[in-house]
């Protein structure tokens, strides 16, 4: 591993530790919900990083279709995989929060529904990749689908802002007056939130880079194995 990679990982680990400490020590206890509100720092950070990953997959896919360079497809693939993990964490942390606050693990709220749609769309992306034998066709189809799939991302973002929802909007305005579990941010909460967002974004970038490198190494190995087979 090169020096800058070690430095990058070191900073990420340090910030993750700091952010976790801030969530449990520095950030104040929310008056109505109590300690369960602290999960929001993880929930929002993982959701943000997940959607960022899908944006990276979109950019990588467009770049692949323009250049047909495999590295862009490998980047998109890695971004979708990491994004799916992060979005899964966002959904699980949301559900853990919802149980005590909404008195249910799950409800058919527009935000929850659209987030799950996005999650399923990117799961379908991986299934599509798995169903195609030819590497070039696989990359091409995956790139096209990643572009179509991204259409669901703004829908998820807008769903809690345009539709009647009980999902709280912590950052930015909301038209819904039915939000349950809404809370205001104190300065310490804002600091913790910003720190969490930065730390998780860095963690995403590290995971993406590592997955991308593994992807490249794996494909190179497969190519070498195939070349070694007698024709």
């Amino acid at each position: 591993m090169r020096l800058w990679e070690r430095l990058w990982m070191g900073i990420t680990i340090a910030l993750m530790v700091l952010a976790t400490l801030a969530v449990f020590v520095y950030a104040p206890r929310e008056a109505k919900m109590g300690d369960v509100q602290r999960i929001f720092y993880f929930h929002i950070s993982t959701a943000w990083s997940g959607f960022l990953a899908f944006a990276v997959a979109l950019v990588g896919s467009i770049a692949y279709l323009r250049s047909r360079a495999r590295r862009w497809d490998q980047l998109s693939h890695a971004a979708v995989e990491v994004g799916l993990v992060l979005l899964t964490m966002a959904i699980i942390t949301g559900s853990l929060w919802a149980r005590p606050v909404w008195n249910t693990w799950w409800t058919w709220d527009p935000r929850l529904t659209t987030t799950t749609i996005t999650w399923v769309v990117y799961l379908a992306y991986l299934l599509l990749r798995n169903a195609v034998e030819n590497p070039e066709t696989r990359s091409r189809f995956a790139a096209v689908y990643a572009i179509v799939a991204f259409v669901t991302v703004p829908i998820t973002y807008l769903s809690a802002r345009l539709l009647r929802t009980i999902h709280p909007i912590v950052l930015g305005p909301s038209v819904s007056s039915e939000a349950q579990g809404q809370f205001g941010l104190t300065p310490r909460m804002v600091h913790t939130m910003v720190l969490s967002l930065v730390a998780w974004t860095l963690l995403f970038s590290v995971l993406l880079w590592m997955r991308y490198r593994i992807q490249r190494a794996q494909e190179t190995l497969e190519e070498m194995e195939a070349m070694a087979e007698p024709s």
Partner: protein, 523 residues
């Protein structure tokens, strides 16, 4: 004086995964020339023709046809080449004459009935022109496919195993037709297996392991010479001592064992300029007439409307005769509504809440099953490749198919609304409901056309299409259901909001599907 090449491949390479199918192949073909492409199985002959026809994108290198360069200008090259593929690209439920007429219109060729009949007569099919192709033998299908290739005004004909399945009469007719076309100034590249068939060519080039390894006059490539060349070509590109016709062959590439082939020539394609002396004289005037590309690319609206209307006509006729998709789909829709009603025994108030859900679910399933089936038929018949060779922008194909698929969904909606009226005593013939359903059908038709074109080319096929489609279409479904519910509950502001969401998502989805379609289908 020799004319400049009409088709030129410059260091074209193509890989499938880690394996090279073509490696830096250079080839130049002039008007009036017939080049036979020979090589062992898997040598890359079909790949070379498919790259030249723009069905495959080269990994490196370029193809030039009359000044049009591929990549990137696939549309320009497509307008100037005609390909006869492995599969005949014929519709079993159309007659021989209808098949040719469809391709005439779809490819933007002149709709000259006389030329069409001449092509049928030339291949001995005039008497069976009005018979459906379904009953044709393999040899007759090949004759018809050849007739289509000969009908094309393109200056370059690429023929992949043109004599497969032909009897001796058909073989002679095909050879004669090829000679006639080259006398008119066309260039022909034909991938051949049988050494006995190469005498039709002026020049033979041999591909082994994706490389051009030898070229020369046809008489030099008798069976024994080819056997030796195929056996040794993979390893050395050299010519064994036993090959008696060594002097008349030009071997390309550096030999691994120089001792076996003392008279080798350098690897550079010096043969590019060398034409056989017995070429037919080229009548340049014969090819000065409008080429399909010129027709298609220059005439604006007609170039869009003609292929789309041809596609619509073809799909409706094929569906009307084969009843492969619509009839089962309508039956399934009616049956589903009946079972739904019987299972739930909905009261009128509950019906108002549940029927919109079921209607949209039905639309979604109809889209996946119906459009998937239609696309699978195209791919299974091999006709999809024929459609991809449309001169010009392939988004024409997207629009044409989306319109057909939209019509299919429209018919499912119409039948479902009638069934809803009968089974649930619920009239949904409100213009606002129809607008929402029409918008939903349009969006679904667009995105399903794109996704089906990809899914049907994968291993999982019918199973994969709903997995790809349903989550992407889910916002359409939600907006549509809520919109119809709002109409039934007399909530004007509610229906307006959902209609706006539906329109916005519809436009977004359709536009994205349209923009990426060309990339999805361009290998």
């Amino acid at each position: 004086m020799e004319s400049s090449p009409v088709l030129r491949l410059e260091r074209v390479s193509k890989a499938f995964g880690p394996r090279w199918a073509l490696r830096e192949v250079s080839l130049a073909v002039r008007r009036g020339e017939i080049v036979a492409l020979m090589g062992p199985n898997g040598a890359g002959k079909s790949t070379l023709l498919r790259v030249a026809a723009t069905l495959l994108r080269p990994a490196s290198g370029v193809v030039w046809v009359e000044g049009y360069r591929w990549p990137p200008d696939g549309a320009g090259v497509r307008a100037r080449v005609a390909l006869l593929g492995h599969q005949p690209w014929l519709y079993p439920d159309l007659t021989a004459e209808e098949n040719l007429r469809f391709y005439q219109r779809f490819y933007g060729w002149s709709e000259d009935q006389e030329a069409l009949w001449r092509a049928l007569e030339r291949m001995g099919l005039a008497e069976r022109a009005h018979e459906r192709v379904r009953g044709f033998s393999r040899g007759m299908l090949q004759r018809l496919a050849l007739a289509r290739a000969f009908l094309s005004p393109a200056p370059v004909l690429l023929l992949d195993e043109p004599f497969t399945g032909l009897d001796v009469v058909g073989l002679e007719q095909a050879r004669e037709a090829i000679r006639e076309l080259t006398a008119q100034g066309r260039a022909v590249v034909a991938a051949l297996h049988d050494p006995a068939a190469v005498d039709v060519a002026h020049r033979v080039v041999v591909l082994v392991g994706g490389r051009l390894v030898a070229e020369g006059p046809p008489e030099a490539f008798h069976e024994r010479a080819l056997q030796d060349l195929y056996r040794t070509g993979y390893a050395a590109h050299g010519l064994p001592e036993s090959t008696s016709s060594r002097k008349s062959l030009l071997i390309l590439g550096r030999p691994a064992n120089p001792g076996t082939a003392p008279g080798l020539h350098p690897a550079e394609p010096a043969w590019e300029g060398g034409l056989s002396p017995d070429l037919h004289p080229v009548r340049e005037a014969a090819i000065s007439r409008a080429l399909p590309g010129e027709t298609a690319l220059r005439s604006g609206l007609a170039s869009v409307v003609r292929p789309m209307s041809a596609l619509l006509w073809k799909d409706l006729r094929v569906e009307g005769r084969g009843r492969e998709t619509l009839a089962p789909l309508l039956t399934l829709a009616g049956l589903s509504l009946f079972l739904f009603g019987a299972a739930f025994e909905l009261r009128p108030d509950l019906a108002r809440a549940f029927v919109p859900v079921f209607l949209w679910m039905l639309l979604l399933f109809a889209s996946s099953l119906g459009v998937g089936r239609m696309m699978a038929s195209e791919i299974d018949r091999g006709t999809w490749e024929g459609l991809l060779l449309v001169p010009g922008d392939r988004s024409l194909l997207f629009w044409g198919k989306a319109i057909v698929h939209g019509l299919l969904l429209g018919l499912v909606i119409a039948l479902s609304l009638i069934a809803v009226g009968v089974f649930f005593n619920l009239s949904l013939w409100d213009p606002r409901v129809l607008l929402l359903l029409a918008l939903g059908a349009a969006g679904l038709a667009g995105v399903t056309t794109l996704l089906a074109a990809m899914a049907m080319a994968t291993r999982a096929r019918e199973l994969l299409l709903p997995i790809l489609l349903f989550p992407v279409a889910a916002p359409l479904l939600i907006a549509g259901i809520q919109g119809i519910r709002a109409i039934l509950e007399a909530d004007p502001s509610g229906w307006g909001t959902w209609a706006q969401i539906l329109i916005a998502y519809d436009l977004l989805l359709f536009t994205v599907a349209w923009l990426v379609f060309e990339e999805a289908v361009s290998a």
